[in-house]
């Protein structure tokens, strides 16, 4: 008999990123550059969730110090980050807004120097934490999420 449940094995050390907005897991995979890691990554899309209806989950088996998770704070701070050691959750990390974001978002100001010099890093700096405002380091154009 074929079991109709989807089981992903436990991880011994790494992260479980839970409560990801359904459909956003591939974006996070890209932002965290998980494709560059030689480790086991499981992406679960549209998992059932009492709180969210459906959600995405990412499980990453890797040493916990090799991924910079600050960027998740910029993407969505409702994501829950569970840190796993010895197959148990040892910590739930609170996400905060990163002070600086490099090469994640692009400056859209056509007058910005980054629009003509392709080799420049696209760097955004958190200028107003309360209102979650990021500005381009070079031209100070505000990043619009929408």
């Amino acid at each position: 008999m074929v079991e109709n449940r989807l089981n992903i094995g436990q991880i011994s050390e790494g992260f479980v990123l839970d409560h990801i907005q359904a459909g956003k897991s591939m974006d996070i995979y890209k932002y965290l550059r998980l494709d560059k890691l030689d480790c086991c990554v499981a992406i679960i899309k549209n998992a059932r969730s009492n709180k969210m209806g459906k959600k995405d989950i990412i499980k990453i088996e890797c040493p916990i110090d090799i991924i910079d998770l600050d960027i998740l704070g910029f993407i969505d701070h409702n994501i829950t980050v569970n840190i796993i050691e010895n197959e148990t959750i040892v910590d739930k990390r609170k996400l905060r807004l990163p002070k600086e974001i490099k090469n994640v978002i692009k400056c859209k100001n056509p007058r910005c120097i980054t629009s003509i010099e392709q080799e420049l890093d696209h760097v955004f700096v958190l200028t107003d934490e309360e209102n979650e405002v990021y500005r381009c380091k070079y031209c100070e154009e505000k990043y619009g999420r929408h």
Partner: protein, 306 residues
């Protein structure tokens, strides 16, 4: 290594020192005539500018230094596709300090990240023009004797005028500052400046359309030009360009000690008949622009004159 990218790079105390030095240069120019002997200023102007380039060059020449540079992108390696970072690495081998104007916003900051010499932002697109703001501050302090307790009228293109935005940012750091924003509806100060700067710091301001209504109570009137290049159609520009013309008759409404400043060039927003009025200080402002740039060059190069 210190650079100047933004007028707010200097604290109020540092600005005081810079303006004190500019004041001493004005009083004793001979003392500084050889201060930069053997030093070279490179003026890297990727777009034309008369005043800003020549005032930097005059400042360095007054200090006994020498100058080199280019005055348009076409006459530089940028025309061959050289990046700002490569150009500045090269210039760092030739000169001791540089002033850069670039049409793209943030270009001088890119230069500062790769330079081994101080970089002065001499204007980057519609973004920053810090030496103009320093010039304005020195003019006000020298001729009014203070930078606090002032009611300042800003008139003309408050929407696109970067000098106005920079001046507001610089002046709100002083005590008891009040602004009167004089503009047509279409050229009002942008919401982000009103909200993020004035409202946030509880700076009092009023918005009026008629210049005559504001004039009687001002300590200072800062006029600006309506810039043709900011308009998408000729019709709007033509309608806006003559909206404000300061003439002798209007000056009669102003207090006897009110100063008129203008970053120049002017088109017709100040009638030439006002030029002889002692309150019209826009040409003195140009002279202060040289003093403050002399002080800036000395400060960034770390040269002290006893």
């Amino acid at each position: 290594m210190r650079h100047l990218m933004n007028p707010l790079d200097f604290s109020v105390e540092e600005l005081e020192q810079l303006m004190d030095l500019a004041g001493d240069i004005e009083a004793h120019p001979e003392k500084y005539a050889h201060a930069c002997e053997g030093k070279k200023l490179a003026t890297l102007f990727y777009e034309p500018s008369t005043r800003t380039r020549l005032s930097h060059e005059a400042a360095m020449l007054n200090l006994g230094g020498s100058i080199m540079g280019f005055s348009s992108a076409a006459s530089s390696s940028a025309a061959k596709g050289e990046s700002v970072s490569d150009t500045i690495r090269m210039i760092s081998c030739y000169a001791d300090i540089c002033a850069m104007r670039h049409p793209k916003e943030g270009a001088p900051m890119v230069a500062s990240q790769h330079a081994t010499i101080p970089v002065i932002n001499a204007g980057d697109g519609g973004h920053q023009h810090p030496t103009q703001t320093l010039t304005d501050l020195l003019t006000i302090r020298s001729l009014k004797g203070r930078l606090n307790h002032l009611k300042i009228g800003l008139c003309g293109d408050l929407k696109f005028g970067r000098t106005v935005h920079s001046l507001i940012n610089a002046l709100v750091r002083y005590e008891d500052i009040e602004f009167v924003l004089i503009s047509p509806e279409e050229l009002r100060l942008p919401g982000y400046v009103r909200k993020d700067v004035l409202d946030k710091q509880h700076i009092p301001y009023t918005e009026v359309v008629r210049l005559e209504d504001a004039l009687p109570t001002l300590d200072l009137l800062y006029m600006t030009r309506v810039q043709k290049e900011r308009f998408f159609n000729e019709e709007d520009y033509v309608r806006m360009k003559d909206f404000y013309i300061l003439d002798k008759k209007k000056m009669e409404l102003a207090p006897q000690d009110m100063l008129v400043l203008h970053p120049l060039p002017r088109v017709n927003e100040i009638s030439v008949e006002v030029d002889d009025d002692p309150r019209a200080v826009y040409f003195k402002q140009v002279q202060y622009g040289v003093y403050i740039r002399m002080a800036l060059i000395l400060t960034l190069l770390g040269i002290h004159v006893e």
